[in-house]
Amino acid sequence: MVASQFMPLDGANAVSQAMRQINPDVVAAYPITPQTAVVQNFSQYVADGIVDTEFVPVESEHAAMSACVGASAAGARVMTATSANGLALMWEVLYIASGMRLPIVMTVVNRALSSPLNIHCDHSDSMGARDSGWLQFYAESGQEAYDNTIKALRIAESKSLSLPVMSCQDGFITGHGVERVGLLPDEAVQEFVGSYEPELTLLDTDNPITMGAWDFTDHYFEHKRQQTEAMNASMELIESVCQEYEMLSERPQPILDCYGMDDAEYAIIVLSSTAGTTRSLVRQMRAEGKKVGVLKPRLFRPFPAAQIVDCIKNCKAVAVLDRAISFGAPQGMGPLFTDITSALYVAGECDLPVVNYIFGLGGRDTTPPMIAGVFEDLEKIGATGDRGDLVRYLGLRG
């Protein structure tokens, strides 16, 4: 264990500090609100000679991710950052990065997708990329965003996995909110991430290889199976890296952050900063004797399905809060909800009433009284046995 030094940092700056400590070989990025501060701070470290990174200023996010793919294929340790429409512009190349098994780490400062134009937080950007073959972490605070970024690099570069990782946090709410953030000593981070020594790289001229080649009908399918199995099998690796980081930092690093779940009758499942707001309310409610709980997955891809089912199966009713809509999904459910309900079905837990709340789109504030309203709804469902509307909207007028 090493002591952290506390600094006043916004979530974006916390991530750029993590990037400074990691000192990656290449960062290729394009600025977009609310991610801008990540790249702005980091490019200052490059300009000041604090890091050795080759910073590639590009003309678009498509080019940013393409440059990351090239650099990573060349054997470099590569990081980048984006938000919203920038992530959308990377789409094509996201799949190339994961298909080529390149361990790129990208910070996503979550922001609503246009249109209508909005720069504030929701998860529609990264949720849209949930099938792109990237692992996804979601952070509640600037501290978690910092911690997740460092863990993400170790996990991505693990030889047994070798897949890219997105480390997400809420735009503005934590991205621009200044908090007390504990930074590990630079050397401790360096030691934790170690050096990156890929077995196969394009710059290894003694062992020439071809990457990103044509994959015909006779091999593409096998490669995709390999990719999905690598993701499926990564939970143990992720857990061990989290545990190691927890020992180092003395900050808990659970894959599922549970509070009150041991005996909760009514529970809310929610990602990122809103989990903290929910937990602060749950503390108060439990002090008043209410058996309520909150479950925050810090990891969304791979989806910790069995662990979530275990955690909620004894509840009387559960609400899943989604900060994104999956348009055209059954009744317009959110992505977290569809995964949780399918996990429950697969586990044979089909009697638990689960409802979905779409919330916070375009940065709409989500306050403790709103969340208290969700718990009231759950109590009603528990008391009457009537689930009512499957998909509801929190904080929406009308």
């Binding site: 006043p8 709410i173 200044v178 989500t366 306050t367 403790p368």
Partner: protein, 190 residues
């Protein structure tokens, strides 16, 4: 027992409100406290009314939503009174800190605010006298230090020296510190 102080700031964009909130939070870190400082982001432009929030706590802060029922409201620009609802949601025993040349009694009457404490400081005058510009946000921290036992004047002065020292000339930093100390001395409660 956890102690949390929730502060809402009212000011105009460009007056250093966000910086002051961050400075305040930072000043409590040495004492092992936790803080959050975040503005309410609208369509920003110089002079527009803005709100910002600061939470100070002896324990880790989990809540991530705007402050609905502040313990303290700080009004950096007196001409916002009547334009925005200064006392909205403020706790009954809450504290108002206002940059004004008026007395606390006159202000209470004007706002119809009966509860808690009202602190007045003529921050604009101090700012003009000390650095010839109407940037009164930071010096109001002197009043916060007087009004709340969670905040320490020495820590604020030290943080101000550290933070501003990196960017500004020494005499400007000294003027800022002097202004904070004057606010601490010259503010009145009623």
């Amino acid at each position: 027992m956890s102690q949390m102080l929730e502060i809402r700031w009212h000011g105009r964009a460009g007056q250093g409100v966000v910086t002051a909130g961050e400075l305040l939070g930072e000043s409590t870190m040495e004492a092992g406290m936790f803080f959050q400082a975040f503005p309410e982001y609208g369509a920003e432009r110089m002079g527009a009314p803005i709100k910002a929030y600061t939470r100070l706590s002896s324990e880790e802060i989990e809540i991530h939503s705007p402050i609905l029922e502040p313990d303290m409201v700080i009004v950096v620009n007196p001409n916002l009174i009547g334009v925005v609802d200064i006392t909205e949601g403020v706790k009954e025993e809450g504290t108002l800190i206002v940059n004004t040349s008026q007395s606390p009694e006159a202000l209470r009457k004007r706002l119809g605010f009966q509860g808690g404490q009202v602190w007045c400081v003529d921050a604009t005058r101090i700012a003009i006298e000390e650095f010839r510009r109407d940037i009164p946000s930071t010096l109001i921290l002197g009043v916060v230090a007087k009004a709340s036992e969670l905040v320490d004047l020495e820590a604020i002065v030290e943080t101000t020296r550290e933070t501003l020292g990196g960017k500004l000339r020494p005499e400007i930093v000294d003027a800022n510190v002097r202004a904070i100390e004057r606010a601490f001395e010259e503010c009145t409660q009623g």
